[in-house]
Each structure stands twice: as structure tokens, then as C-alpha cells.
């Protein structure tokens, strides 16, 4: 019984934010001390279908940005993780890959902003893609590096001795075997990019209006209803992803925890 109550409380704490955001996103006026909004509206959700709505644009932009960062980071991380796994300095490289994670992205942004200004990349989408990539791909290396076990190395060698070229081996052996790792890496990098605010805002100079940037903008405009809608959109992909495969989200922390 005590256990049942405890778990119900945990369930409430977890589910409440989602419901709360959803409710707020339909609100129009919420005077104290009403528990729920005293005036409701559906127009915010409706305007999501209009392409000229700022939040719709942000949603599109965030998707474009995060998919690009996810793809580029995954491909790069896969390539370098192999090189690292087969090299003698494996441990050194892998611990260095932790450094961008250790430094908070926002501090990284403060330090490198000068170079983005000089190259005209500050305030541009490309600039934000590059900056997020620099944060994401070392992380991707940590995820991908677990794929290159001695078993995989032997399978690769076997394919060579059976006459497989490097391309054939990649296509017929390595990529099919790495499918789940690559998927995991992509989603992880996608989510880091999708969740990122500080660096995006700093390097994007406020001009690259992603969903997270929108949340802050609406908070500053004291519009909790639009902020809630933007926030709900932010948690939507990862909730969908969780329903498909919960491991895809959790693996990150585990990969980090495996570091010893």
C-alpha cells in the first residue's frame, strides 16, 4: 500500500508537467487564483497550421537544424570513432571527447564567438549548425566507439580476406551491423541540438529562432500560453521517440556512465 502511494506520487510528478503544458497551451487568460485558465482558446494550436506563424517557422527551423546536426555528427562520429578504436591512443582520445560535454555549451559559445563574428557566421543558421556540431560530434564519438569491438574488427578482416573491398565491407558488413548504433547516435545528437538554448542563442545572436529560443522569447514577453505551446512542441519528438524505443534516449547517460 505504501509502495502504491509512493509510485502514484512519482507517476504524478512525471505526468503533471506534460498535462500542465498542454492545458496552458490552450489558455488565453489565467487570473489568480484560478487553478485553470479562466479563458480558453484553440487559436494558438490552429495558427500552427499557418506557415506565416512565428512558432510554425521555429518548428520547421528547429527540425531542419537538428536533423542536419544529427546527420553530420553521426557520419563524422562514426568515421572517427573507428579510427580511434583502431589506434593505440584510444583511451586518450576518448577522454578528450568528454571535454566538450564537460564544458557547458554556453561557455564554449562565449569563448569561440569571436571566430564566428570574424567569419560572418554569427547570427546565421550555418553558424549555429557548425557550433552545435562541435558540441554534438565528440558526444557521438563516445556513443559510436562502443560499436568497434574486437568482434567487429574480426568480422571486417574476415570480409577482407573473403575478397571484400573497403566499400563492399562497409556496405555489406559494417553498416548493417551498426544500424542500431547509428540510429542511437543520430537521435542523441538530434536531441542535444533540439534541446540546446544557450549556445544557439549566443552564436545565433537571437536571429536563429529555434523552438527553445522561442520559449525564452515568449517568457520574456510574459506570454506563458505561447511558451507552453512551444514547450509542448519541444517535448513532443522525444516523447514519440520514447514510445517507439525508450532505449534510444536513455543510452546516452549510460554511455557516459560506462566511462571508467
Amino acid at each position: 500500500m505504501r509502495k502504491h502511494i509512493g509510485q502514484s506520487i512519482v507517476g504524478f510528478i512525471i505526468l503533471f508537467p506534460i498535462v500542465f503544458l498542454l492545458i496552458l497551451s490552450f489558455g488565453k487568460q489565467w487570473f489568480y487564483p484560478h487553478i485553470l485558465p479562466n479563458i480558453w482558446q484553440t487559436s494558438q494550436w490552429e495558427s500552427l497550421f499557418s506557415p506565416s506563424f512565428q512558432l510554425t517557422k521555429s518548428l520547421g527551423l528547429s527540425l531542419l537544424l537538428s536533423i542536419s546536426v544529427g546527420l553530420v555528427s553521426t557520419v563524422t562520429a562514426f568515421y572517427f570513432s573507428k579510427k580511434i578504436a583502431y589506434s593505440y591512443n584510444k583511451t586518450t582520445w576518448l577522454s578528450l571527447a568528454y571535454v566538450p560535454y564537460l564544458l557547458s555549451p554556453i561557455i564554449f559559445a562565449v569563448l569561440i564567438h569571436f571566430y564566428f563574428l570574424k567569419t560572418g557566421l554569427s547570427g546565421s543558421l550555418l553558424g549555429v549548425i557548425i557550433a552545435q556540431f562541435l558540441i554534438c560530434f565528440p558526444f557521438g564519438i563516445i556513443i559510436c566507439s562502443t560499436f568497434w569491438t574486437s568482434q567487429i574488427q574480426s568480422l571486417e578482416n574476415l570480409s577482407f580476406t573473403l575478397g571484400g573491398s573497403t566499400t563492399q565491407t562497409l556496405k555489406r558488413v559494417l553498416l548493417p551491423l551498426a544500424k542500431s548504433t547509428l540510429l542511437l547516435c543520430f537521435f542523441q545528437c538530434f536531441l542535444i541540438s533540439w534541446f540546446e538554448y544557450g549556445l544557439t542563442h549566443f552564436i545565433g545572436a537571437g536571429k536563429v529562432k529555434t523552438l527553445t529560443v522561442s520559449v525564452f522569447a515568449y517568457v520574456n514577453e510574459a506570454n506563458p500560453f505561447l511558451a507552453a505551446l512551444a514547450g509542448f512542441l519541444l517535448i513532443l519528438p522525444s516523447i514519440l521517440l520514447l514510445l517507439v524505443n525508450k532505449r534510444l534516449i536513455f543510452k546516452t547517460s549510460k554511455k557516459l556512465a560506462d566511462y571508467e
Binding site: 574480426s154 578482416n157 574476415l158 570480409s159 580476406t161 573473403l162 575478397g163 571484400g164 555489406r172
Partner: protein, 248 residues
């Protein structure tokens, strides 16, 4: 130098430690050479260098009179088999065996025909569509053989291929391999730490120890060499028979 495989003065060091010290080795075509060696003797390194998976510091290797040292593993036509069967986990048994033929871009009908024939040869016709994890250790190793032999390699390198099998399976696999080797005129280097297996499997026999290779001109010479361990073994069993076990 009319031999099929010739290895000349092959050496390799790793981080200052010598692994192979000037190995000389030759093999006639259509024969199996057993190489007896403990782990750490350099046997795996030797095979990997022959397969092109590792690079030697110095020495020459020629196959059918042609130097292969600078060739990529893909071009050597030498297949290296591990103790583990290493079946591709994402492919069925059929596709595992067909793997090399697919790489050669053979047409479907030919692949179909040859793979089915090979499945018959290794006695696994009924396993065609199974996935590797449904097979026993011995069956996996058979598939690994089939997959290697079907590409008709000039030379097979076997690195303790039965090391992970239980005694009974091991015996039947030894027999299967001997039959196949004869039937398909296979040339192979067979590396093992097991004295009996070395004697059973090889037409000729050699021994690798601390990176040095010693070839025996005949099995008889091998039996008589005190270092081969054969005499110890014989003494042990004959003592046992004479009831003198207590003296040991």
C-alpha cells in the same frame, strides 16, 4: 623455390618485443601443414601477416611464385579462419555462405546452386534460412568453413578453428575437415596448441615457439624430437599401462 607457399625471413616486433624472429616456412600445394604452438608463440601474428591483416617488419612471402607482401588482403585470395566462427549476425546461413560470391557479383542462379551444394557438403541443408544464433558451436564452425571454401581460396589459414568446441564435436569436425581437404584439394596452414590435433590434421608438421619456427621433414622426426612433447605423451600412457603410474 618451386613451393606453393614460401615464407622467407619473416620478422615482426611489437612495442620493442619480438613476436616473430626470421620465420622460414614452405608449403606444397594441396597439403595441410599443422603448426603446433601455444598462445603467445606468435602463431596468430604469423597467420595474420600471411593473410595481409598485419604488416611484417621484414621478410618475403610468395604464393605460387608471386610476392604477396604488398598486396591488399582482398587481392591475396587467402582466407583466414578464427577460433570463433564469426558468422555475420545480420545474415542467414545461406547468405553467410553466399557472402564471398555476392562480393564477386556472381549471378543469382549460380550463387543459389553453389551455396546449396556447399550446404550439402557441410551437411546443413536444412539450416538454410536459420540465423547464426540458432546454431550450435560445431554447426557455426561448419558454416564458417563453407563460407571460406566456396570462394575457392588458394590458401586457407586456420587459427585454432576447433578451440571452442567440446571434445565430441571437435572429433567430428576434424574428420569433416580432413574429408573436405582431400575432396577439394585444399592447401592450408592449421595452427593448434593440441598435440593430437596437430598430428591428425597435418600432412606435414611444424612447431612455433617464442616466434621461432621449426619445420619437421617428416612426422617421424617430429615424434622423435624430445621437444615436440610426443615422447612424453607416449611415456605417460605406456607407464600407465604398465601400472607404473604411481612412480610418476
Amino acid at each position: 623455390m618451386s613451393e606453393f607457399l614460401n615464407i622467407d625471413d619473416l620478422s615482426k616486433t611489437f612495442e620493442g618485443q619480438p613476436i616473430l624472429n626470421g620465420i622460414h616456412l614452405s608449403l606444397e600445394s594441396n597439403t595441410v601443414l599443422s603448426i603446433l604452438g601455444k598462445s603467445g608463440s606468435g602463431k596468430t601474428t604469423l597467420l595474420k601477416i600471411i593473410a595481409g591483416l598485419e604488416v611484417a617488419d621484414q621478410g618475403r612471402i610468395s604464393l605460387e611464385g608471386k610476392p604477396v607482401m604488398t598486396m591488399k588482403p582482398q587481392k591475396r585470395n587467402i582466407v583466414y579462419l578464427y577460433q570463433e566462427a564469426l558468422l555475420f549476425p545480420h545474415l542467414t546461413i545461406f547468405e553467410n555462405i553466399a557472402f564471398g560470391l555476392r562480393l564477386q557479383k556472381k549471378d543469382q542462379a549460380e550463387i543459389e546452386e553453389r551455396v546449396i551444394q556447399m550446404l550439402g557438403t557441410i551437411g546443413l541443408d536444412h539450416m538454410k534460412y536459420k540465423s547464426p544464433n540458432q546454431l550450435s558451436g560445431g554447426e557455426k564452425q561448419r558454416v564458417a568453413f563453407g563460407r571460406a571454401i566456396i570462394v575457392e581460396p588458394k590458401l586457407l589459414l586456420l587459427d585454432e578453428p576447433f578451440g571452442a568446441l567440446d571434445v565430441e564435436t571437435r572429433h567430428s569436425m576434424q574428420q569433416l575437415f580432413k574429408d573436405l581437404a582431400k575432396q577439394l584439394s585444399i592447401s592450408a596452414l592449421f595452427v593448434t596448441h593440441d598435440l593430437k590435433e596437430a598430428i591428425i590434421m597435418g600432412d606435414d608438421i611444424g612447431k612455433i615457439e617464442n616466434g621461432n619456427y621449426k619445420a619437421y621433414t617428416s612426422k617421424k622426426e617430429f615424434y622423435e624430437d624430445a621437444k615436440s612433447g610426443v615422447t612424453d605423451e607416449i611415456d605417460f600412457w605406456s607407464n600407465l599401462q604398465r601400472g607404473e603410474f604411481s612412480k610418476l
